[in-house]
């Protein structure tokens, strides 16, 4: 089977932008193809991660973005899985290359979240919850994650201050990331004193609403070499759905994420200790704690120590560095593009293009992208430097 690799990446500015979704995509695509022939000369299929048609009243994103890329008569489709849509698009591209169907597939993602204001985004995101019980009870994305967070604080030694420290760490990382929506450091007091959104979560525990697009070109290793591109190997891919309703899941053992990560590890022939960097789905600070445990980086109940240097974490923790990009929290979280922004960060880290935020010696990355609340669906990828085993 061909070995799928990421051969190029690109992204639009993130945050509140004056461009519609398709134009954000064009910006991301232009960066990804800066050193490449035109998309029409290479790309054989397109997958678009996109959360919701309510922002721009637009479905048919596969058709639209393929056309805007100058592609005609290629298979092109939107992939939906709320915030996991981007990694689902990546996974489809990886599978197409792996099974020999295509040599080059464009995985992209786009979201124009600011088009309907904060209430529009709140409403659009709530569509990810079970309609019959959850939506009709008036829960929101922050309050759903707050239910996980409240339970996590109840069951573990973690405090609200620990969660705040995760936000502080991710802002510090974002301060060195020129792509970040919030490239600035903050302190713990800023987080702890920010407005309550859904206790125990406060404003600064939450990833921001923002626009953005990302493009990732997945090819065979041979084609990437022919194109003279730095390449990163997609060594493993896993995905797992879990119950849609939060109430019916284990709220502190994020089992779907564990299954997705373990599947990706198994394909890659590694375990969690081999991972140097991880981009996990820190839509809310508590997610980073929960996902550190689900990914096998931390013993149960100690994932909240992700902000500490490896030497200061509890026994059983690996040396992984989490969210070097600044994570969803500070890099930004344009829903359908997020999974691809995670891949972009890993690509830059593993090809020596991460500048000031480069994690020394990083050769293996884990990506965990969630959709719905928690692990309603989780997609995981293991990326490695092309030379790594």
């Amino acid at each position: 089977m061909p070995d799928p690799v990421i051969a190029s990446v690109g992204a639009s500015p993130l945050g509140r932008t004056d461009l519609p979704g398709r134009d954000l995509f064009s910006v991301a695509l232009a960066e990804a193809f800066d050193d490449l022939p035109d998309p029409a000369d290479i790309v054989e299929a397109v997958y678009v991660g996109n959360q919701s048609e309510t922002y721009e009243h637009q479905i048919m994103q596969g058709t639209l973005l393929a056309e805007w890329a100058g592609l005609r008569h290629v298979p092109a489709e939107r992939v939906e899985g709320c915030a996991a849509a981007g990694a689902l698009a990546l996974r489809h591209a990886v599978k197409d290359v792996r099974n020999g169907e295509h040599e080059a597939v464009l995985a992209c993602g786009v979201e124009k979240m600011t088009a309907g204001g904060t209430s529009g985004a709140t409403d659009a995101l709530s569509a990810a919850f079970d309609r019959a019980i959850e939506q009709r009870s008036g829960v929101t994305a922050p309050s759903q994650y707050a239910l996980l967070g409240q339970r996590y604080l109840h069951e573990t030694d973690a405090t609200e201050r620990d969660l705040a420290e995760i936000a502080v760490k991710n802002h510090a990382n974002a301060a060195r990331n020129p792509r970040a929506q919030f490239p600035k450091e903050i302190d713990v007091a800023t987080v702890l004193e920010s407005d309550p959104v859904a206790p125990p979560l406060k404003l600064y525990d939450c990833a921001p609403v923002g626009d953005g697009a990302a493009a990732v070109l997945v090819t065979t290793a041979e084609l990437a070499a022919d194109l003279n591109r730095p390449q990163v190997r997609v060594a493993g891919s896993g995905a797992s759905a879990n119950n849609i309703a939060v109430a019916e899941r284990d709220m502190t053992d994020i089992a779907g994420a564990r299954v997705a990560a373990e599947t990706a590890y198994e394909e890659a022939g590694i375990d969690a200790t081999a991972v140097d960097i991880a981009e996990v789905h820190d839509a809310f600070t508590v997610c980073e704690a929960l996902l550190a445990e689900a990914a096998g980086f931390a013993p149960a109940g100690s994932g909240y120590q992700s902000y500490l240097p490896p030497a200061e974490r509890a026994d059983g923790w690996t040396d992984v560095q989490l969210s070097p990009s600044g994570g969803l929290k500070a890099r930004g979280h344009p829903i359908g593009a997020t999974g691809l922004l995670q891949a972009l960060e890993a690509y830059e880290q593993l090809t020596g293009a991460a500048g000031d935020r480069a994690v020394e010696g990083a050769e293996t990355a884990l990506l965990l992208n969630e959709g719905g609340v928690g692990d309603a669906v989780t997609v995981s990828h293991v990326l490695t430097t092309a030379e790594a085993p």
Binding site: T122, S137, G138, P196, A247
Partner: protein, 143 residues
Amino acid sequence: MSDDALDATNPRTLPGFFDALADGELLGGVCTDCGQVLLPPRPACYACGSRGVDVEPQFPEGEVFSYTAVHTPPPAFAADAPYTVAVVELTDGGRLLGRVAADYDDVAIGDPVELTVREPTATEREVALDYETDWPVHVFELR
């Protein structure tokens, strides 16, 4: 697999479930193979994959498993905010999310609660889909 037709009177469908709830009866699916309680009832058990699902009344009491308050509500519920929501573990083992008729500060994990059922408000009816218009709303009250 059950031989019952999955029509709108069957509590394994949402209309059937909410019809019973409107009469004050909370029906749960109970897996005949592993005992998992499914709220609302559905044709298959997520825990073991079995399609043997009995429908049984659930005792309308339980304990708060987790809770929060919604300060940034969806537009339809803006007038209610902040309001308390919880995941409740019911006495019969199922877990159900719902509003709690109490201030956030008056709620704690482990608090005993009782499930009550009311008709939808005018505002709730306005944002309901056609088929949801008459579906009741459940609310937990502290015991």
